[in-house]
């Protein structure tokens, strides 16, 4: 069985426009998949249907043999512990320290009282420091997050996702707010997460070149429909033009 199956997924926020239309694809364990497409194509929406941050309107999302759309509250929380998420704007609590923000990734495993009191086991704390070290930001562990640079904050975000011990990590434009150097650091870390830890990554990207360099497979989304799904090497000029609906030359290449 594949790790993730999306079957006939449809989503609309209001009656007029359908943001996603009959989206079908599967992702195998250990794959690194990029989703590209123009602004407003529905990339973020697609990602949020997978861990049901938004409700699914039509079709099915099956993750790890669970029908995501039909889960009840408690099971939904359990599902979300298996899916890490990384955001464009990092979405850390700025006034808390790095280590506190990383440990937020463990709340999914806690009862209300344990979580409210902030009871974390020594293993969890050690794991948090191990991850910070792995991403090279151990020295900032006790700094407040708003004192870190964007690239460093994004690495904290990745630690928070990893400490969940997830099977899948969803990244919504993880490098859209970063300079080229930090972008490379982040993408290299994401790639090594898949290669070394065997965690599947599904990444929304704006930069076609980055998607081609890093991913095993690319999904092209245009106006809520999949118009390309295949190995990165197979993505040619004409497919890119088709996805973005323009001549490539006209796009500003980042």
């Amino acid at each position: 069985m594949s790790l993730l199956q999306v079957e006939g997924l449809g989503k609309s926020y209001n009656l007029e426009t359908k943001v996603l239309k009959d989206v079908n694809f599967t992702v195998e364990t250990g794959e690194f998949v990029s989703v590209i497409g123009p602004s407003g194509a529905g990339k973020s929406t697609l990602l949020r249907c997978i861990n049901r941050m938004v409700e699914i309107n039509e079709g099915k999302v099956i993750f790890n043999n669970l029908d995501v759309g039909s889960l009840k509250k408690k099971d939904l929380r359990k599902l979300r512990t298996d899916i890490g998420m990384v955001f464009q704007h990092y979405n850390l609590v700025p006034r808390l320290t790095v280590i506190e923000n990383v440990l937020h990734g463990r709340f999914g495993y806690k009862t209300t009282l344990q979580g409210v009191l902030g009871r974390f086991s020594e293993e969890e704390k050690e794991q948090a420091f191990f991850l910070l070290q792995k991403l090279g930001i151990e020295e900032h562990a006790y700094k407040r997050c708003d004192q870190l640079s964007g690239g460093q904050q994004q690495r904290v975000g990745i630690c928070r996702a990893l400490i969940q011990d997830p099977k899948l990590i969803l990244c919504d434009e993880p490098i859209a707010s970063l300079d080229p150097n930090s972008s490379k650091v982040i993408m290299d870390h994401l790639k090594s997460i898949t290669n070394d830890l065997g965690i599947t990554c599904l990444v929304n990207l704006h930069q076609v070149e980055v998607a081609q360099d890093y991913s095993d497979r690319i999904i092209g989304l245009r106006k809520g429909e999949i118009v390309f799904d295949g190995k990165s090497a197979l993505l040619r000029e004409e497919q890119i033009n088709h996805i973005y609906g323009t001549e490539r030359r006209e796009l500003i290449t980042v």
């Binding site: 929380r77 890490g84 998420m85 955001f87 609590v93 937020h104 999914g108 979580g115 409210v116 969940q164």
Partner: protein, 290 residues
Amino acid sequence: MEMLRGGAQPKQTYIKRTRTGRINIKAGNKVELVTKWTIAMLAVLTIMAFFFFDYTGLQLERAITETAYNLKTMFLEPTLSHFSWGEAFHQIGITVGLGVLATVIGAIIALFLAFLAAENLSKPWISKSVRVVVAFIRAVPTVLWVLIFAIAAGLGSEAAVLGMLFHSIAYLVKAFSESFEEVDRGILEAMRATGSNWWHMVTHGVLPSTFTYLLSWTFLRFEINFGVAVAMGAAAGAGGIGFELFMASGFYFDLREVGFITYAILIIAIILEIVSTQLKNRYFPAAAKN
């Protein structure tokens, strides 16, 4: 032909113009217009009011000199005559106590209600209902609430605390819930995506992000409550320095004592202000900057 003419004119313009044809840069919506007219009407009414006052018996010169004389006695020759210094401190303590009690209990209750009132933490209908109730409570002045509670508790400090508490809760629920709504949606989304439940999000996401604001609002409300506690002492027999003020002015007509008490209240207010600023600076440097 029709189409040609349509093409010749600008098809659709988003530019808004005033009647004289100048381009508007304000959104120019109804709210602005209503505000403008309301202010104009109020200004006109205020000026008109001066023409309708009853001026018979007004001797402006005498009024001014006597007021000046009274103010001089009050503020330049303050003394205590009907009670001692120790008594004065005791009464001030009662008044401050009333304010603290109403503020602290109010803040704690308001915190929980504010979670229900904040749109990003609650269901729409719950948040709406809490807001309506709270707006109603806030619309009625504190004094009236004290008098309403006095029906059940009798005039005195109990009724005063209850009334002040009631109004404090309503005030703080609004202030707190608006602070909560300022919290970045992304933070809540990220926490929800880890599998956190509502309590986790509130205690580790919302509270740390808004704590300094909550504290500032509580201090502000305490300053208000101190003033209200003085007034309640006079108006509702809640005791404390306000009651002494009432006795000195309305009962003994002792201007010198009124002056003394006014100074005492002023000094306490200044001390409270300094203490609260110091506290904020020491423990919450981030809030002092805001």
